[in-house]
Amino acid sequence: MKHRYLPTTDQDRKEMLETIGVESVQELFADIPEAIRFKGELNVEKQLFEPELIRYMSKLASKNANTQENVSFLGAGVYDHAIPSVVDHVIRRSEFYTAYTPYQPEISQGELQAIFEFQTMISELTGMEVANSSMYDGPTALAEAGLLSAGQTKKKKIIVSKAVHPEARAVIDTYARGQHLSVTEVDSLNGVTDLDKLKSEIDEDTACVMIQYPNFFGQLEPLPEIEKLVHEQKAMFVVSSNPLALGRLTPPGEMGADIVVGDCQPFGIPAQFGGPHCGYFAVTKKLMRKVPGRLIGQTTDDEGQRGFVLTLQAREQHIRRDKATSNICSNQALNALASSVAMSALGKEGVRNMAEQNIKKAHYAKAQLEKAGVETVFDGVYFNEFVVKLNGSVKELNRRLMKKGIIGGYDLGRDYPELANHMLIAVTENRTKDEIDAFAEEVGGAQ
């Protein structure tokens, strides 16, 4: 068949078969035993030509309510933020997106330097000394932090606050089971981790304590107090953080965290139904040689010229095989690049401004909802999310909102039976005053 991705002509094939010394391509497959050879045609969908394909895929896409044509108040780990136009222009440069892992540094300096810059930005935001080149996403990074802690402390108990993202906790459970580690969840009280319960759970078998900051309910956890409890028992302090929030909030690195992880999705990465996003993984210098995934380091060439290479590879699976600190190979390099471009475009001032606008708009939305007669719960300090208690079901309200072009908040009853009819609302810098007012009116009217 002729196909635009397949350049081999019949004449080429003839010449190549001659060189190989066979009559037909089928002879090259003769080593596949007859009994398991596939005969007939694969039952995959038929070929579409480009115009047909565009029509078909556009139709599928149009069946989804997107956050550009609708107004979204849904967050819960994935956020609708402004994405500078330059981001896509950079990541669409095919020198970046059609390259593989930079194993040949002489022709991969662009990628290596860009990721070295990414590592620096993550170090700056988190207040940590070392950041890696990326992980699949925030939750798997958190799970890997649990494995690192267990390996480092030789202890088997992971403590996770229930105010950590429920899907992250589910991922941690699976990873922990793989390594025969136990996971203990600690309740929250008034929207933050219950410190008394946490204190009673931390013991000499504890490998680490995992806290999310801001937590799943949007609230800020008292990291300095938790840090004392954790380190008193020589456990590791693991914090999962939205990096945008750290543009304005004191970073976990300044509050004694040993490992800080999270997801860079807020910086330049579209929601795209949950992936690919971009996990980050930052540690203290002490843990540098235990970090999972790739690290880029600065060095020089034979003429003393500055350059960048993959480094400390003795930690990784392709060298260490079954003794590696993690099995991760592919990461999220292109998305790390996207986040770097977004952070660079926003810049020092812009990141701070964006973080502040999130706090201020969430603040305003909460006040407007209260004014409209909606009950809000939890009274702590929050970033860009907060919780309201509805009279009826969240699902019902969301259906009604959708008819007005509004994507409502997250139904907390899905994960917390005690929070049935509670909605988690996210308000980013993308929401205008008018949109917030309309939303408050709709939600208030339903009460």
Binding site: L6, D12, V25, I32, L42, V44, Q47, E50, L53, Y56, M57, L60, A61, N64, L74, A76, V78, V86, V90, E95, T98, A99, Y100, E106, I107, Q113, F116, E124, A131, S133, S134, Y136, E167, V171, G178, Q179, P222, G247, R248, L249, A271, Q272, F273, G274, G275, R294, L295, D301, Q313, A314, Q317, S330, A333, L334, M343, G347, G350, H363, Y364, R399
Partner: protein, 487 residues
């Protein structure tokens, strides 16, 4: 390639007061955050992020891109990585707002098109692999391996079989195989290859035991050779109560020719960023769906996508599921690209892909076999391995020859892998390369082999034309500099 030696770091271009982006003015009442935020949360040390103009930013990243080699820049025969062309239409489709700007926690009735795409992709992957069901949740190949092994563990444990602690991997296996086995709580055991480059059946019989949980196999293997004794191997493993795991890294060799499900494999992972053209992105993101046979379906990660009365929904009530391996539903954006590719090819096209990939590899192998040592003489599949041990006797290592290829605008093949072949070079051309490209590359490699005899220094001191010379990796590891620090 750019000839400028050094490209400043973006931090070094930074000047206070410059911006490349502005948000609209705040349109809600202002709040004094210094007052509102409790002291402990009020950040004092501001993060030092760059301050550049939009043009400075674009020039910086454009300069960086010129210092990078991608498939669009030139031939990239990196063995085991399937560096084929990344179709541009895939990139366009993945950016449709109905795919790019949808939230994973929206009500299911508002994302039926996304679910339909996922469902169709799963069905197509079922067809290509011959498995019974597929999950799209794993983020990449290694993640898929671990997911598959966790399911195998759950299966054995559900049968009360707690003593199956070992996973067998061939000595030619990719490093992720033993690493994934460890992360899934198993002990990795190695089985040897024989003189033909395939698994030694006698050694396999020796290592298989009542404690065998699974055998992980790539077929064709990392030497590019089809494991012709696969039926016997499956029998040995299954008779011992173990499961057979298929590493789909090399799926590009056999689409439409053979299916892992028909070979006796129980679990399969695919690398959609290899065979199915998800771009490699400089190392990721990938996507690593896992397919299983019927008896492992109960253990699939949850939620599982189901179709009922023409509508799609996620099923969460899966009591035997291994749980979640990733938040949400996998790397959806990459899956959109893979689905677009499959629809661009159709069944006949996918079969042609593998035939051409195998033809290209065999052609190159025969063109190169006299100048290098060919450790395994039989026809290969989509890739092959040659050894530079004769050149090494002349004082030139395979690493040197790889660096010399850089001078001619090529990305070198994979080198020193698989680890069971001395001084090896693993070449995978893929089906998207023309005969002219293969010929030019072979001519260059033959020229380099001649240089090794006539003028070894030019090879030993390569590369000569890149923006930077060979880098000091020892110092990089001994005194790591992992971030920029202002002088």
């Amino acid at each position: 390639m750019n000839t400028t030696k050094d490209q400043a770091l973006i931090f070094e271009l930074s000047e206070p007061g410059r911006i490349s982006y502005s948000l609209p003015e705040l349109d809600v009442p202002d709040v004094d955050l210094d007052e509102w935020l409790p002291e402990e949360f009020n950040r004092k040390n501001e993060p030092e992020l760059p301050e550049v103009s939009e043009l400075q930013l674009m020039r910086h990243y454009t300069a960086l891109s010129k210092r990078n080699h991608g498939v669009d820049s030139g031939f990239y025969p990196l063995g085991s990585c399937t560096m084929k062309y990344n179709p541009k239409i895939n990139e366009d489709v993945a950016r449709y707002p109905g795919f790019a700007f949808i939230h994973p926690l929206q009500e299911e009735e508002t994302v039926q098109g996304a679910l339909e795409m996922m469902y169709n992709l799963q069905q197509n992957l079922v067809a290509v692999t011959g498995m019974d069901e597929v999950t799209l949740q794993p983020a990449a190949g290694a993640h898929g391996e671990w997911t598959g092994l966790m399911m195998i563990r759950a299966y054995h444990e559900a049968n009360g079989d707690y003593n199956r602690t070992k996973v067998i991997v061939p000595d030619s296996a990719h490093g992720t195989n033993p690493a994934s086995a460890t992360v899934a709580g198993f002990e990795a055991v190695t089985v040897k290859s024989n003189e033909k480059g395939i698994v030694d059946l006698e050694d396999l019989k020796r290592v298989v035991d009542g404690d065998t949980a699974a055998l992980m196999l790539t077929n064709p293997n990392t030497l590019g050779l089809f494991e012709e004794q696969i039926i016997e191997m499956a029998e040995i493993i299954h008779n011992a109560g173990g499961k057979l795991y298929y590493d789909g890294a090399n799926m590009n060799a056999i689409m439409g020719a053979a299916r892992p499900g028909d070979m006796g494999f129980d679990v399969v992972h695919l690398n959609l960023h290899k065979t199915f053209t998800g771009p490699h992105g400089g190392g990721g993101p990938g996507s690593g769906p896992v397919g299983v046979k019927a008896d492992l379906i109960p253990y699939l990660p949850k939620p599982v996508l189901v179709k009922e009365d023409g509508a799609y929904r996620f099923e969460y009530d899966r009591p035997q599921s291994i749980g979640r391996v990733k938040p949400y539903y996998g790397n959806f954006g990459i899956n959109v690209r893979a689905y677009t590719y499959i629809r661009t090819m159709g069944p006949e096209g996918l079969k042609q892909v593998s035939e051409n990939a195998v033809l290209n590899a065999n052609y190159m192998m025969r063109r190169l076999q006299d100048a290098f040592v060919l450790p395994y003489k039989q026809h290969c599949k989509h890739e092959f391995v040659i050894s530079g041990k004769n050149q090494k006797k002349l004082g030139v290592r395979t690493l040197d020859m790889a660096k010399r290829l850089l001078d001619f605008g090529y990305h070198p093949p994979t080198i020193y892998f698989p680890i069971n072949v001395e001084e090896c070079m693993m070449i995978e051309p893929t089906e998207t390369e023309s005969k002219e490209t293969l010929d030019e590359f072979c001519d260059r490699l033959l020229q380099i082999a001649k240089e090794v005899e006539d003028n070894p220094e030019i090879v030993q001191e390569a590369p000569h034309t890149t923006v930077i010379g060979r880098l000091d990796e020892t110092t990089a590891a001994r005194k790591p500099i992992l971030r920029y620090q202002k002088a």
